[in-house]
């Protein structure tokens, strides 16, 4: 598997949007001209110092960056091993890492003269971030959200509507994130002339996986500098949860060429890997969906299977193509955490650190609970606390109440 390792893990994708065999541009012809335009617009923006300056200004004054790198002292004591740091993405405006990417895409959309923004959302964090920046810049905003997710993430639906976005519940298929993405793609095909599709994760047709990764890389770049300041060296390991994988990619990417840094992605194992789950790498195989080739959950006929996770944000039967490549090259180790493990981590973190995490990063915390005790005390472990748990409180309360009865 590792016979032909690349010289760098940070040089992808190639000009056709491929990370090894993964990625690509598997979209309807109607969208192709726009995707080529976007690729060009993004390349121009990236080369324009004014674009970066504009981004830096908003990241600092509107998003509230840099986010702290916080030593989780009590969790460290409790687990009795590695020294654990949290990258506090949950402190960003809108409550998660999603805003880093949305800001970048909205600034690009403005440069392209697009006035109508569409997005898909699972947990609603990407939808909230998109609705927020559309409000800030006076753009029309439509958010597609699976009807099941609308039900379990009511707080975020209300938030998006307050921000002036229109939330469209998607009734097709499994009525979760995958179907929201189908419906957003259908809208985009129909309204391609005036619409910008703000994809929430490191997936979709090229250039999205690359562009979203670049916007999220601020997480890893800050972590490098902050760790240097705090400990005078690189961290020893990184851990992040993965649905599509944007918070993970953002933390990992700046460290991929540091061989001393162990990297772990945590997929959602739902009820367990032999039952309903959302772990595409652990339980899937390469296929083509939503514009890219990547690991997907599917049956022997190539039909996409429904994912399951307690966390709406991880409830997707695929993963970003760069993660598939990092898995196949062996650079990143992909683990998984079940619903129950995530719930336990959610409660532990709330009690020990006074931080209520979202159910998504609770999956990463669950694996920290496993890995940290096996590491020495001078091992520096960074976990991406990608979102805050306010949106999950009613759902978790319901589950815990149900268990007591």
């Amino acid at each position: 598997m590792n016979s032909a390792l690349p010289n760098s893990f940070r040089s992808g994708p190639d000009e056709r949007g491929h990370f090894g065999i993964f990625g690509g541009r598997f979209v309807a012809e109607t969208l192709m001209p726009l995707i080529l335009d976007l690729e060009k617009a993004y390349a121009e923006a990236k080369a324009d110092p004014a674009f970066q300056a504009e981004m830096d200004g908003y990241l600092k004054h509107y998003v509230g960056r840099p986010s702290p790198l916080y030593f989780a002292e009590r969790l460290t004591e409790h687990l009795g091993g590695a020294k654990i740091y949290f990258k506090r993405e949950e402190l960003n405006h809108t409550g998660s890492h999603k805003v880093n990417n949305v800001l970048g895409q909205i600034v690009v959309a403005r440069r392209m003269g697009k006035k109508r923004i569409i997005a898909e959302t699972g947990a609603g964090q990407h939808g909230v971030a998109t609705a927020t920046l559309c409000a800030r810049f006076g753009l029309e905003c439509l958010v597609y959200m699976g009807a099941v997710d609308v039900e379990r993430q009511q707080a975020n639906v209300i938030r998006m509507e307050m921000l002036g976005a229109k939330v469209i519940p998607v009734q097709s298929g499994s009525r979760t994130l995958k179907d929201a993405m189908n419906e957003a793609l259908r809208d985009w095909v129909t309204n391609v002339h005036n619409t910008f599709y703000c994809i929430g994760t490191v997936a979709g047709p090229h250039p999205y996986p690359m562009m979203v990764r670049d916007f999220q890389s601020v997480i890893g770049l800050e972590t490098r500098a902050q760790m240097h300041e705090l400990e005078g060296r690189l961290p020893d390991s990184l851990i992040a949860c993965i649905g599509g994988g944007s918070n993970a990619m953002g933390l990992f990417h700046p460290f991929l060429d540091d061989p001393g840094v162990e990297i772990f992605g945590v997929e959602a194992a739902g009820h367990g890997l032999t039952q309903l789950h959302a772990a595409s790498i652990a339980g899937g195989r390469p296929g083509v969906l939503h514009g890219n080739r990547t690991y997907l959950l599917m049956d022997d006929d190539g039909q996409i299977q429904d994912a399951h996770s307690i966390s709406a944000g991880l409830d997707y039967p695929g993963i970003g193509p760069e993660h598939s490549w990092l898995h196949e090259t062996g650079r990143v180790t992909y683990l998984s955490a079940t619903d129950d493990e995530a719930l336990a981590a959610f409660q532990l973190l709330s009690r020990l650190e006074g931080i209520i995490p979202a159910l998504e990063p609770a999956h990463a915390i669950a694996k920290v609970m496993e890995l940290a005790p096996k590491r020495p005390r001078d091992h520096l472990m960074v976990v991406n606390l990608s979102g805050r748990g306010d949106k999950d409180i009613p759902q978790v309360a319901d589950i815990l109440r149900g268990r007591k009865q």
Binding site: R25, F26, L185, D300, D301, Q303
Partner: protein
């Protein structure tokens, strides 16, 4: 290499008329009824038959065709069964061109080389794969050409003159012009705009140009057929099929007739068109 598609267009050209192309989902509402429907299509007036390969996530299709795919999947349809259905059809009909239309993943999972060999031997003539633009030609388009299958490309209102040559480069059989920016079964095609678009494409290619998406009635089919080498109707047929089902979504005694009846009247519409001089 001449395929049944090339032969059919040559024949229609002699007759001076436009082709009527039908789309139905393979296996809708169940594999057995679907075969009966497809067998009835040539007699009802279909010149070329497109068979949809059901897929869970059809990102370019509207609600009617999405539902058709889900009915077929629920009835146990698979890519292998679609090819078996084609083999059955070919036992009695060796001339009507058959085109498979769908999305790439089931083919990729079947294995590209195996799929092409199986499709060719079953009697398939062409492929329309919605999520394979020219940028991904090495995946299936080039191997399909080598295997003797037509790879029929979609051109759309967003495919401008600059991009057309890339879209047409490896296209064979015919060019499928998508008359609207949108999904199947949504807006209505504007026949004047379509006429201009077809003329524009014809400046770049000698291939027949057929038009689909947004054509529902015999009158609309007739208007499109004036200026195009073929007219594709899908959602209107799928709707007729659905309307014939019982409360549980199962076929009734009238299902095959219901579809054939609509095909007949649309075929009359196409045949009534006077072809614009080339």
């Amino acid at each position: 290499m001449t395929t049944r598609i090339d032969a059919r267009f040559a024949e229609l050209k002699k007759q001076g008329r436009s082709a009527f192309i039908t789309f139905l989902m393979g296996g809708d509402p169940d594999p057995k009824t679907s075969l009966e429907i497809i067998k009835a299509l040539p007699k009802a007036g279909a010149d070329i038959i497109e068979i949809g390969m059901p897929f869970t996530d059809p990102m370019a299709d509207g609600p009617a065709i999405q539902a058709a795919g889900l009915r077929a999947l629920k009835a146990g349809m698979t890519l292998k069964k679609t090819l078996a259905m084609v083999r059955e059809f070919r036992k009695a009909d060796d001339t009507t061109p058959l085109v498979l239309m769908g999305y790439y993943n089931p083919i990729y999972i079947h294995g590209v080389d195996k799929f092409l060999a199986d499709a060719k031997s079953a009697g398939i003539d062409g492929l329309i794969i919605v999520d394979l633009p020219p940028e991904e030609d090495s995946e299936l388009c080039l191997p399909a050409m080598k295997a003797g299958l037509n790879f029929i490309r979609l051109a759309t209102p967003t495919t401008d003159d600059k991009r057309l040559p890339a879209v047409l480069a490896n296209t064979s059989g015919f060019v499928y012009y998508v008359s609207i920016t949108g999904i199947t079964g949504s807006a209505s095609a504007d026949s004047a705009a379509v006429g201009q678009a077809v003329a524009r494409i014809k400046r770049h290619t000698k291939l027949p140009v057929c038009v689909g998406f947004g054509i529902r009635t015999p009158l609309a089919a007739r208007a499109i057929a004036q200026n195009a080498d073929g007219t594709v109707v899908g959602t209107a047929l799928v709707d007729a099929l659905r309307a014939s089902l019982d409360g549980e979504g199962n076929a009734t005694a009238g299902t095959v007739e219901a579809v054939a009846g609509v095909v007949s009247s649309l075929a009359q519409g196409v045949r009534g068109a006077s072809q614009a001089a080339e």
